[in-house]
């Protein structure tokens, strides 16, 4: 094994350890079918490993990982390996977070996470990417770097997102 491939392996292993959970969540945001989702996660990891053969600090490593993961996921979407049952909408078309499928059984954070996931599945690609990146705690500037959207376009979407994400609190307060 050459020193380059040892470096590639080491960088991949470190990145996979740090971002593995994010990749799982991102795959859930793009693919509802568990079997296809497993394939998508494997595709992302394979692309990430190969990408470290050419990564030379072109951008922050975190942005690199997010770009690779989202680009594999959008390729997964446009190659038609997933079936879409409902038309996709923009962030401004969602009035409140949709209820999950199993709200009676689930509570608290898990219920909120399921409602977030249901909203993500309804969104058009660009809004979906912004929402996923925002939930992963990237700043507006980082979201702009990863997606290529202007700072204005990102901040408009984050504003809409914050308004949307405030909805569950209202619901909880009404219930209390």
């Amino acid at each position: 094994m050459t020193s380059e491939s040892r470096g590639q392996n080491a960088r991949y292993v470190a990145a996979a350890r740090e971002h593995g959970a994010m990749i799982e969540r991102l795959a859930r945001g793009y693919e509802a079918d568990p079997e296809l989702r497993r394939d998508l996660v494997q595709d992302i990891h394979a692309a990430l490993w190969r990408s470290f053969a050419i990564f030379e600090g072109q951008c922050a490593e975190r942005s690199w990982v997010h770009r690779i993961a989202h680009n594999v996921a959008v390729t997964h979407m446009i190659t038609g390996r997933r079936g879409r049952k409902v038309p996709l909408v923009g962030l401004d078309d969602i009035v409140e977070l949709p209820a999950g499928d199993d709200t009676e059984r689930e509570a608290g954070e898990r219920r909120l996470a399921n409602r977030l996931l249901a909203a993500i599945h309804m969104l058009k690609p660009a809004d979906r990417q912004v929402m996923l990146l925002y939930l992963e705690d990237l700043t507006a500037a980082e979201i702009g770097e990863v997606t290529g959207l202007s700072a204005g376009a990102v901040s408009v979407r984050i504003h809409r997102l914050k308004a949307l994400l405030a909805q569950p609190y209202h619901a909880e307060e009404k219930q209390a």
Partner: protein
């Protein structure tokens, strides 16, 4: 109760560990093996067609049939080259330096161009060869004896309809992709 959406999202999921490096490498190898296999199947198909037209070149009696068969061999090779040239997308692992919207637009534009220009690189190359073979068939007395004229017209009509249908479907697909590209352009032009 106040819940933090970011915390709820980041705490969600099955909590799977990252896959082992050997599994990742095996999956990457499998992906490229599949691509290679698909390419080989395509090339074998092209070679099969070239052999079939090569046989026609040898056994068909009329010069126009021979010329048409030779043209068809060249057309098959040209289309195979075009599929290889136009079909190779940028692979996601090389896209880390590219924002998602630019990557997505590039992938969609590549597919749109492939579909919208299908007449020029996929349909037209076969037309002269087919025309020569059909005219040659009309001049071939042995064939004229066995194949009635109406059947030749039906065959020609079927061929034209198939090509027209192929072109129409591809144009519809290209327009659908263009709408998605327009959405991305609109998005990118937002301040």
């Amino acid at each position: 109760m106040t819940l933090d959406p970011k915390h709820a999202w980041q705490a969600s999921g099955d909590g799977h560990d990252a896959p082992a490096l050997t599994d990742v490498r095996a999956h990457a190898d499998k992906f490229y093996r599949n691509v290679r296999r698909q390419n080989i199947v395509g090339y074998v198909g092209c070679i099969g067609l070239a052999i079939a037209f090569g046989r026609n070149l040898l056994v068909m009696p009329h010069i126009l049939q021979k010329l048409g068969s030779a043209w068809m061999i060249a057309a098959v090779l040209y289309v195979a080259w075009q599929i290889r040239r136009r079909g190779s997308a940028i692979s996601p692992e090389k896209s880390g330096g590219m924002p998602i919207s630019a990557f997505l637009r590039m992938q969609l534009a590549r597919q749109r161009d492939l579909l919208s220009s299908v007449l020029w690189w996929y349909i037209l190359p076969f037309i002269p060869g087919l025309a020569l073979i059909l005219i040659g068939n009309g001049q071939d007395p042995a064939l004229a004896k066995h194949v009635p004229i109406w059947l030749r017209w039906v065959a020609l009509g079927t061929l034209v309809t198939a090509f027209a249908g192929l072109w129409g479907l591809n144009q519809l697909g290209a327009r659908r992709l263009q709408r998605r590209i327009d959405e991305i352009d609109l998005l990118m032009s937002e301040d």
